[in-house]
Symmetry: C2
Subunit: 548 residues, 2 copies
């Protein structure tokens, strides 16, 4: 007898619950809103395990490569902490510590035999968003109709990471459809922010944001077609890299609207430092992913590009543009202060900072929103309806019945509009350079109008999505935390639209107190090396290296 | 009173005829089928002008940069020879010698004043396919409905070439729609092959093939979505580079099906040597086109990639695959001999040559043909119908009324099929490398089933178009000429399809005697530097440097 969608979901939850051994069970869930410090107090991790999970990935791979740590030690530590993360934040779709430990043992045996690591990520556990396929596991991606199907092979990125020596242990939660920036689905419900259960962990790579935020993972792999790497990074006080399309391999991953190529979703890392973003990126590029995924550009890590920024920082400084308002929706006071703080830190260090006028971001936001629904949402509706589950409330805009599918000639017109907009933006970039008489190295901007958002209040994607439309490289840098004593309600605010009014109306200094605030550092297309180096400098100037 | 399409076409022809000064007029058109040697005998060009037009572009820019030639001298020589080419082959849509000479004078003045060239192409005339926009001129692209519209700006590539110092003097003919490999439209009629008026010059960059073939131009700029650079290069005994998408700027060019992005048309040069293909490519990349056209990858010329091939050639040789039959349509005997000759020359020089099994080229050919008509040909029909002109006979396949437009979800499925096919092909490539224990550097293959084709007999695009679907870099190398004494009819031929039978049936040793035969050297995506270096080696081994 076929099961109802509720039964299928309950079965999945029960299977997931069983993956956590009794000795890793949290006996009494904390009553506090914030659980970020709970792992330290849980008694489940040893001192050594706490130390491992609070180290950087760069440090861990260095110790693993030197034989100072075994992969089993490191993997066990992260499995335990991930189990806690799961119980506190509900961040996993799949958890497979036994298989992870078996993989770790193999790597340790390899090391014992050959006295060298298999690759640059030898023995390091890496958490994967539930779009990446790992042979033998489910990729449900939050659709009930996709449950109980087990992957017969790896995604290309999984293969590259395996070759580099990574260990897999968890696949993390996403919202139904992936097309929203909070993480809710009908299988596991809602994933919450470890810093406050009343805030969203972001989305769509929300499980990654939560698990890396609470250090149940050290490098998380997310994807981004409209903010889905950057928003969870921002909401969890993490760094995140949205590379440009074609830099890292997306092939053989699951996706909503698979085959849609007008704006490509991209894959990238979420970490606690730029150093770890770089470690991930270099490790993947070192596997020559362009020989496996035809969409990847044969562009190895370009150290010379990184060095150009290092040299600029040393001699005379960077030239950075910035904006705090895209003309559509004014950010909340903590975000405005975040941009201001970042710009002030750059200026103080001698870098040139100049206001940037966002170019037609209203047009850009409209165009990409239109692209997301180019098929009249037939694809996502098919996968939702297949099980009879309802759509989550967050996607009501996407599933607007007034949105009709476009035909081929309309699509081609959309492509031309996109291309022209991208080129006009490049022209503005060149004009700024001509005016300054030097390169414009990056633009600092908000990534969302809010600090880590209160549930069901993520309303405006434009700060993120216009950058997707432009396919610029973007790195999220954590800046500060909302502070009710500084970030008062904006008394002089005048709304430019109903949405603008609604978003601003929802700012509550008390409710947002302590919420992470971030900016994004935006570089030209395929400028990963440079933009990472700039983000690293920004992070250093902000002194924001935070331990949990 | 609105003019009929016939009147509009006649008016354009009359305007075009007037652009040729009386002193450049050919008094008596040659009676011979071949006019390739006519410019030498015409009496219109001086000895010095003949020498200029028979030099390489590399030699010319070197002399221009050294002040040994002026741009006016060089431009005048090519304008004269282009005027002859136009009268003999009907290869131009626009011809503007006065403006070219004015541009040349300005460049000479710059040189006189600054004692240095403006850029790497200083003073060199370059011919442009009639898709590239040059401010002030018509881009009709063979559509009558597009006549009498004058471009208000340059295409990005035009801008890049201008900055590099190029001079513009002619825009060359294309077939109606661009979607066929012969050059016929209702404005100027047919462009013929300078080596034999009974053969096609190829298409869609057919005017470029003809004008560079007869040395009315030294570097021609073509485009290619299914063979349109490579076929004219092959049919005119020229070299042609089809770069991968994203390497050279296509922005702001006219196109059929503008905005179609499932398979991108690409732009590239047609020349008499690899050295000149390289000069063009390096000169354009030197202008940082990625700062103007958002689709261009920020990938400067990579000399190190070229050097890897040079080093392989020096030490131990290249590893080259080859095939002479794609499983769909068997080439004519001269083409089979062309592949054989090339492979033998490589083997003799010590390079490794191994048969390559074409992977699902039937599927690839079907898929890309389906992509070309994804809108049910609504776009091209609109531009044809706007004037009331009839469709040319060559495009009857494209305008098949049975082809229906696909919807968005079908398109996305097509995208997935394309991506998977590309990746399967990469897998075959990797397997070949694993088997050989070394890199597979390139694959040698036919580019068409025929030598320079007889009019209205171009029937099969698959040798070219599957490479577009794969987005591999491809360089055409001229090999030899059909020879009725060697290339007998294939007596053992057994057709695999009706089309295969028809194509083979049309082989006539007498009619094809002397027709150019070429191969393509296929490299991985974005392998321009390597593939050019391999093509150069192939050309050297064949000893095919030919003077007209």
């Amino acid at each position: 007898m076929p099961q109802s969608w509720e039964e299928l979901a309950a079965d999945k939850r029960a299977r997931l619950a069983k993956t956590i051994p009794d000795e890793w069970k949290v006996q009494t869930l904390p009553a506090e809103d914030s659980v970020i410090d709970f792992p330290k107090k849980s008694g489940i991790l040893s001192e050594a395990e706490l130390k491992i999970t609070e180290a950087s990935a760069a440090d861990l791979v260095s110790k693993l490569a030197a034989g100072e740590l075994t992969s089993v030690e490191v993997t066990l530590a992260f499995c335990k902490r991930a189990a806690i993360a799961q119980q506190l934040t509900n961040c996993a779709h799949e958890f497979f510590p036994d298989a992870a430990l078996a993989q770790a043992r193999e790597l340790d045996e390899y090391y014992a035999k050959h006295k060298r690591p298999v690759g640059p990520l030898h023995g390091l556990p890496i958490s994967l968003k539930d779009q990446l396929r790992v042979k033998g596991y489910e990729t449900s991606m939050g659709y009930i109709s996709w449950l109980n199907k087990y992957d017969e092979g790896d995604s290309v990125l999984t293969t590259m990471l395996r070759k580099a020596g990574a260990v897999f242990y968890v696949k993390t939660s996403v919202p139904q459809t992936l097309m929203v920036c909070e993480t809710v689905n009908n299988i596991i419900g809602r994933t919450v922010n470890p810093r406050n259960k009343n805030w969203s962990c972001g989305g769509s790579s929300g499980g990654e944001g939560a698990i890396v935020g609470i250090r149940g993972g050290v490098i998380g792999v997310g994807t981004d077609i409209g903010g889905s790497i950057r928003v969870p990074a921002a909401f969890n006080f993490l760094y995140g890299l949205r590379p440009s399309h074609g830099r890292l391999p997306y092939a053989k991953m699951a996706n909503s609207m698979e085959g849609q190529e007008t704006v490509h979703s991209v894959v990238g890392p979420i970490t606690h430092s730029v150093e770890d973003l770089r470690l991930f990126t270099k490790s993947v590029l070192g596997q020559e992913p362009w020989k496996y995924d035809s969409k990847v550009i044969p562009m190895p890590w370009r150290q010379s590009e990184s060095d150009i920024i290092a040299s600029k920082i040393k001699n005379g400084g960077l030239n950075i543009g910035y904006y705090n308002f895209d003309g559509n929706v004014l950010p909340h006071p903590p975000i405005l202060r975040g941009v201001e703080t970042t710009v002030a830190a750059l200026a103080k260090a001698g870098h040139t900072v100049t206001p940037w006028t966002p170019y037609k971001h209203d047009f850009g936001h409209d165009l990409i929103s239109h692209i997301y629904a180019a098929d009249g949402s037939a694809d996502v509706m098919r996968d939702i309806s297949a099980s009879g589950e309802p759509a989550i409330p967050n996607i009501k805009d996407l599933l607007n019945p007034n949105i009709k599918a476009v035909n081929m000639n309309e699509l081609w017109d959309t492509h031309l509009q996109k291309w022209n907009y991208q080129m006009e933006y490049l022209e503005k970039w060149r004009e700024a350079e001509e005016k300054a008489g030097k390169e414009l190295d990056a633009i600092i901007a908000p990534i969302t109008p809010t600090a880590a958002v209160r549930h069901d209040q993520f309303r405006y994607y434009g700060y993120a999505s216009v950058i997707n439309l432009l396919d610029f490289t973007s790195v999220v840098v954590p800046v500060t935390f909302a502070d009710k004593n500084i970030d008062k309600k904006n008394e002089s605010f005048k709304a430019v639209s109903e949405l603008d009014a609604l978003v601003q109306e929802e700012y509550d200094p008390e409710a947002y107190h302590g919420a992470p605030v971030a900016v994004q550092v935006i570089g030209r297309r395929l400028s990963e090396e440079r933009t990472l180096a700039i983000a690293e400098e920004v992070g250093k100037l902000l002194g924001n290296v935070v331990t949990p």
